[in-house]
Symmetry: C2
Subunit: 342 residues, 2 copies
């Protein structure tokens, strides 16, 4: 059978709840339970299970790997929130606000180790090795080793992406290519990794695994650019965050980088003044910058880029060598991720 | 052949230097190179190689695992220094002082991933998979899987120990048993893990691996208690740190916990006053507290405990089922670690 996205989400949620037991000391594990209970769309584990489900039906078999990815992702959020001095995550106070920074650092470290434990042993901190571990046969071992390698490569890339993101804040000569590479590392890689791992765990042909990886990579880029776009042009009620956050902190997005290229001398002067001003009215800055964005038609340029990346992602997905109906859940997933009707 | 400690140290140092290449971004990897270049005694990788060398000669074969342990250990130092707001590590400024806290957090995260990469792939961030990985046969795979599990269990325990250490700072009813468990987790576990991994990687019998683990555990406890003792009674020139640090921050060590039990009413009153005082002359506090330590003979009590643990560690080491001369390098190591003549 082919599971729907909501069926897989339900399975993932149940598995995360089951995983969250009560080892000691509570001061270390309570923040981990809190972080994992904040919810979210569980995009990465669901993607992994979808990819596996193209080839195999027993998705429960790789649940520990799926949960590992979600545990890893939430670990990055914990540490990123400390580094960004963020206050709120998914509508609730960040771990370092509920507890403190040291707790967020240490519990985060433990989460990264737990992610590796789930991947390599198929169990969490307290539970006994699951049936999964015993059930793994010879051929599975190869798939698991490949998936582990894919995971390590991606997670190291995410660190690199985070480092570039930090460095770009202090630079004003970031190119479009550099920005795209940064969001590829920071956002796309883990989506691509989830899909590739799912395929590898299912013993899929290497070419298929690679196509699924590229599908995730392109989809992730389209998704991130759309997120940037919504930060400027979104409906606050739908977007869920305040509009204009990127403009206020001068984030070198695809749009800002290209506006600086496309603007005429006068527009660039206005923009540069706003970028350098440290004391300003937020609404006024957002309005002024958006005026220049509109004048150079950056919205259309960004939408075209999103369109192109999204189309490419679906094209490379169709290159996966299976009957096209096996890919339909991932097509649906991509449309839904982009907030579109498929 | 049986390698000496200094031969193994040389091999480890060379491997660490070789590992330290130049991937990008430099902002992420330079702090890692810096942390690993600070030196230290490389106790953990050397212990692992000694344990392996009891059974096998080709110690280079497991070098990536040895370096993984050192990488992991230095990751914990990086994050601990951030949490402790420390200034200096091995006579040089801490990573978060040379760069900043966010860098120390992120580069530390990458080091933990690199440690797992070394363990699971036998290579570092940039190098191609080493010959090691190719050379690993079927039987080795079992040993490596066991060693990986030993590593994960120990590193999770180290997180737990760090958490207890933090919690004990805020409590004044810490028992001797709780303190011993905390230092077991925080200090001993990784030494025990190094030895057990070495045995597992060599395909040693499980009972031997367990004895080596216990040897490391006891030796680690003896070493930590001796470190506590030297903090009060050591020669500053030899100890390498300022004397009295633990007294100044009211650290609930084996000695303080027992002094509070053994002191008479008057001594306890004096001690309690010093523990509660926030404004004091450092030298005066150290002198006053040490006077009570002397009055209840805590030094002898601590020395006896160290003696007992050290003797136990050597007894359990001798239970390893090999000709006793194979164990001599580890006996010598233990004596040297404790600063004694064997």
């Amino acid at each position: 059978m082919q599971y729907t996205q909501s069926q897989l989400l339900e399975k993932v949620s149940a598995a995360i709840e089951q995983m969250v037991c009560n080892p000691q000391p509570d001061g270390l594990y309570a923040p981990i339970r809190y972080a994992l209970s904040l919810g979210g769309k569980r995009i990465r584990p669901v993607l992994m299970l979808h990819a596996y489900n193209i080839y195999k039906e027993d998705v429960d078999r790789i649940m520990s790997c799926a949960i590992a990815l979600e545990t890893y992702h939430n670990f990055t959020l914990l540490h990123d929130d400390v580094m960004d001095r963020a206050e709120v995550r998914r509508g609730r106070p960040c771990v370092h606000k509920v507890w403190d920074e040291n707790t967020a650092i240490l519990s985060g470290d433990a989460m990264l180790i737990l992610a590796y434990r789930l991947l390599t042993e198929g169990r969490t901190a307290d539970a006994e090795p699951s049936l999964l571990a015993d059930a793994v046969g010879e051929s599975d071992a190869v798939g698991r080793a490949r998936a582990l390698q894919t995971f390590t490569l991606a997670t190291l890339g995410v660190c690199e992406g985070q480092q570039y993101d930090v460095e770009f804040e202090r630079r004003d000569d970031v190119s479009e290519a550099e920005y795209m590479e940064m969001i590829r590392l920071k956002t796309s890689l883990l989506l691509a990794c989830a899909l590739k791992m799912g395929a590898e765990l299912a013993g899929a042909p290497a070419a298929d695994a690679e196509h699924l990886y590229e599908f995730g990579e392109k989809m992730g880029l389209a998704f991130q650019l759309q997120d940037d776009l919504l930060d400027v042009y979104g409906d606050p009620a739908v977007f869920g965050k305040k509009i204009g956050g990127d403009i206020l902190c001068n984030k070198k997005t695809f749009m800002l980088i290209n506006v600086l290229q496309l603007a005429n001398e006068q527009q660039r002067a206005v923009l540069t003044r706003w970028l350098q001003q440290t004391d300003f009215d937020a609404e006024e800055k957002i309005r002024a910058v958006r005026e220049i964005y509109d004048a150079v038609n950056i919205r259309q340029m960004c939408e075209q880029k999103i369109e192109q990346l999204f189309a490419e992602s679906l094209r490379v997905l169709r290159a996966v060598d299976v009957p096209s109906e096996r890919l339909q859940p991932l097509v649906d997933f991509a449309y839904r991720l982009m907030g579109r009707q498929s």
